[in-house]
Symmetry: C2
Amino acid sequence: MDRNALRYALKRPIGIFDSGVGGLTVLKALRRKLPHRDFIYLGDTARVPYGRKPAAMVAEFAYGITEFLRQADVEGVVIACNTASAAALPELARHVSIPVWGVIEPGVEAAARMTRSGKVGVIGTKGTIGSGAYQRRLEQLGLTVWARACPMLVHVVEEGLASSPESELLLHHYLDGRAEIDTLILGCTHYPLLHDAIQRVAGDSVALVDSAEALAQAVNGSMDPEPAGGGAGRIVHFVTGDPAAFAHTAEVIGEVAGEVVPLPVTELIRLQARAPRFAAG
Amino acid sequence: MDRNALRYALKRPIGIFDSGVGGLTVLKALRRKLPHRDFIYLGDTARVPYGRKPAAMVAEFAYGITEFLRQADVEGVVIACNTASAAALPELARHVSIPVWGVIEPGVEAAARMTRSGKVGVIGTKGTIGSGAYQRRLEQLGLTVWARACPMLVHVVEEGLASSPESELLLHHYLDGRAEIDTLILGCTHYPLLHDAIQRVAGDSVALVDSAEALAQAVNGSMDPEPAGGGAGRIVHFVTGDPAAFAHTAEVIGEVAGEVVPLPVTELIRLQARAPRFAAG
């Protein structure tokens, strides 16, 4: 479908983006809550993974993608990626005139509600943990924080190895030395796929916060369930890499819910050229 | 630089491709042997990794890329990726009029020369090992084969974790149960970066075959050191993903040796549409 046809087929969609397929866990959660809304999902598979890239680079990606979504007439933008949320927010939200939701604030709030001991853990990519975004917000709320970068976990999920010896080995490596916590934020939208393995390794005394679910609740709380004139619950996926390859990787997360349209990454790079200087840079 | 300017700037270059940055180990080895030749390196970063994708899909990628390189007037094509070599060869070579080298045959031949016990191991991606390409060729030579898919190792390398606890953990997991072998083929162009860790885990009694090095020797043996009229040793990298993201990931392998030019993946998908049906499909 061409870009103009799309604009008329979708009614004030909600834009969601991620470096690849991880954000599909957020899309799933959102569709359950807002079944009548239309969505545009943008998977930036030409540049996946974001997790080890410099924050300034990821912030520019986020800016270009947000511009693209804005031009597609979205009512709001959901950054369904912890690394991009950490790198681009809150600066990005100040530069655009539509609502932008990130995944960090809802996860922090959910953890603050859930913890009884006040000792909270968070795991995520190198970029997310290295940014200190979760740690800062949790500490501002008076919580004690244990944080750990788990660079291999996103790959375990995408390789379809969520339930495998590799996943157990790596989870023990990342979690066994943790401080005493009663709540653990899954600070990557891939990690809900590892929920059961993480619960096993962390033990039943640790409550897990699914940041995809927390984000979906936050968006749901501030959007009308239907756009003006009613929506059809239609989904279009734009991907910067190969649509067939995206569909194949997405199988590990769940179904691709709508049409998959290729989007040249050079188009996003052009939009980025107008990005303001981010604090992260 | 535009496509036509490139055609006149490079003299009968050698084309090399990989799913991403792994093939840079092959480019490095080739440049040492053929410093006066020009090279085009194509990194298909919009579709990386190839290792878990269906063989028929990867074979189509290889066909489209070879067509693109042929149109850029390359003298031959080097498939610097084990997964693509396993998926596309020998069928691909029959469909094009220029030489096509894959990484499997040179690795097999090197292992056959090196082994004394006749017991050879091979490790690679799911796609490479699942194809049975190495196993078949080694067995045809009368060798006893132990093979193991190691899906996480390519990610260990790209995350910059070649020397890390994660790498040790995963290597023990993949190698500790191996059969008795005296030679081990590193059947992925990322694995030379893990050479020291693999040697440590496998022990000194196991000789490692670097398939990137073996491939470079095979190409060197059948190409003139200079093209007619002399070459300048110039390199151009085409990448289907974001050039800046490519350069960043490539840092773990070594330098990016020349200009990096974006190539829309949709252009390769168009070229693939003319692909013959591969046996792999």
